[in-house]
Symmetry: C2
Amino acid sequence: MMDYKLFDLGDVKLQSGMTIPDAKLAYKTYGELNAAKDNVIVYPTWYSGQHYENEWLIGAGKALDPDKYFIIVPNMLNNGLSSSPSNTPAPYDAARFPRVTAYDNVQLQWRLVTEAFGIEKIALVTGWSMGALQTYHWGAMYPDMVERILPFQGSAKCSRHNFVFLEGVKAALQADAAFLDGWYEKQPVKGLRAAARVYAGWGLSQKFYRDHMDLDALGYASLEDFLVSFWEGWLLAKDANNLLGMLWTWQNGDISHNPLFGGDLVKALSAIKAKAIVMPSSTDLYFPVADNEFEVKHMPNAELRVVETSWGHFAGGPGTSPDDIEVLDQALKELLAS
Amino acid sequence: MMDYKLFDLGDVKLQSGMTIPDAKLAYKTYGELNAAKDNVIVYPTWYSGQHYENEWLIGAGKALDPDKYFIIVPNMLNNGLSSSPSNTPAPYDAARFPRVTAYDNVQLQWRLVTEAFGIEKIALVTGWSMGALQTYHWGAMYPDMVERILPFQGSAKCSRHNFVFLEGVKAALQADAAFLDGWYEKQPVKGLRAAARVYAGWGLSQKFYRDHMDLDALGYASLEDFLVSFWEGWLLAKDANNLLGMLWTWQNGDISHNPLFGGDLVKALSAIKAKAIVMPSSTDLYFPVADNEFEVKHMPNAELRVVETSWGHFAGGPGTSPDDIEVLDQALKELLAS
C-alpha cells in the first residue's frame, strides 16, 4: 500500500528543452493544513532519498511537528517515486529520461503547493544536501512566498570541487560494463558497489574515521562491515539510471542558471528575501563552510551557523548523528518562532 | 637506453611469507659518493612514480644538489621498474605478484645502500606521499644510521580514512570487467580512467578548484580538460596490477607493523632518533595535519611545519606548485645544515 500520493503534472517541458510526458510528482504530507493556510513547511528530498527517508526530522515535539505544521515532502524527480528513468515508459525510459534541473524540480513543487493546496505562503523550506539545493531555489524563485529557509549541508550552486567528487562516483558506476550505457536489465551491481565505496570517503570526515565512529557510534563490527552494509547497502537499493539522473541534477545545480537570473549568482542570492539560517558542517568534505560563507554574504537576511561536528556531510543527515540533529532542530525551532 | 641501474636482490622473502624470485631493485643515483661516505641522501618514490618523476627536487643550487650530495632514488617495488607485476615472470606475474609492505621495500633499499655502496650513515631521507611513508620507515628501522628525515605530505601509518579513499580508487579500477581479475592482456582503460577521476577530487583541495587553479595556475582549457589530460593521462600511462600492488602497500603502510615494534605505533615513532621536519599541507584531504600532529608528538626530535597552501596533496608534489616547493626546499636546506 502506497504511503504517498501522486500529483499529475501533465506533459512537463524542462529547462533542457525536453518533455516528460504525463509526469508525476510523488509527495507525502504530514499534519493538517490550517484554515489560514499559514502553517506550511516544504521539505524536499536529498540525493537518492525518498520521502520516508526525510522523516528523521519530523515528529511531535520536534520543530517539524505535524501537530502544528502541514509538512509537504515532495520527492525529487529521478528518485524512483516521482517521474524517473525507472518508472517512465518508452521512449523516455532508462537512459533516455530527460535531464532535470533543480529549477525544474522546484517549479513543479510550486505547482503542487499552489494547484493542489491553494497555498500562497510557506512558513519554511528546509532540506539536507540536495534538499538544501532545492531550498535555495525556493528562496530565490519565490521570494514573496517563502518566509524562511534553513538549508543544511548544501549549497546554492554545485562547486567545481563538488562536481569533481561526483565525476568520481559517476565514473566508478559507469566503469561496470553491465551498466550497458543505461540499457541494463539487471542493475550493474559491481558499479553500484564501486560508486558506494568512492562515496564512503567523502560522506564522513577524516576525524570520523580516525575516531572509529563507524564502530563506536554506529556499531559496525569493522571498517569493511561499514563499507559493505552502510555504503554498498545504500546504493544497491537504488536504480543506476535514477542515481545518475539525480547526480546530473546535482552537478548542474545553480540557483542562477535560469531566465530569472541569467547566470548571475550574486543576483540570485540577493533575491532571497526569506529569513535564513544556513548550516554547514565544520567537516563536510564536499560542501565546505567557505562556499556557504560566500552565499550568506550576498543573502540580505541570512545567518551562517556552522555545526561543529566530526560527522562530515552527515551532520544533520538521516538520523545518524543525534547531537547534531538536536542542534539543527533547535535552529529550526528558533527560525520558525521568529 | 636505461637511465637507471638494477640491483640484484636474489630471492626475496617478504613479510607476507611469499617470495619474489630473482628480485630487482631499480635505482638511480645523482652526484658522487664522497670518500667519507657521509654525503648520502635517500629519496624514495611516490605512488605510481618512477625515479625520474622524483627529479623536480634535485638540481644545482637546490637542497638536493648533486654537486654536494650523493642522492639515491630507489624505485618502490610494484612501480614497473623494480620487481613488479608487469615485469616478473610466471608464476609470480600479474595478479600473482606477492604483496609487498613498505617495511619490505625499505629493507631492500637498505641492502642496496649497504651492500652496493658500503654506506653506514645517511645524512637525509626524504620523500613525498608514499615516499614519506618509506622515509618514516627508514627513521624507525635504522635509527642509528639515519641522521635526518623530512617526510612531506605523508604519514607513518595509513589512516582509516585514507584507507577508505583508496578503497574507492581500487573499486573504480576493478569495476571494469576488462580488468579480468588482473589477467588482462590489454590495460583496463575504462577502470583506469574511472580511478583517475576518483583521485581528482582527492588530490587537490576544494579551494584549488574554487579558485580555478586548474585553469589559471596549470593552464588547462577547462575542468574537463584537466580531468582528461592531467588525471586520466596520469593513470593511463601505468599498469593496473602495478597500481593495485602499490595501493596495497599504501593501505597497509604502518611503521609499527613488523617484528621491531609489534604493532605499537607510539613505540615505533619514539624509536626515530633522526632530526625531523614533518611537512603536511594545510589542505591535504587524505594526509590531514592532525595525523602528523599525533606522530610528531611521539617523535623525540621532530618539528611539525605545516605548509599553508591551496594545493592540497600536491603542495610539495611533482613540480606543480613552485611556491610550496620553494618552502620545502628551504626546509630541506635548513635541515641539512643542522
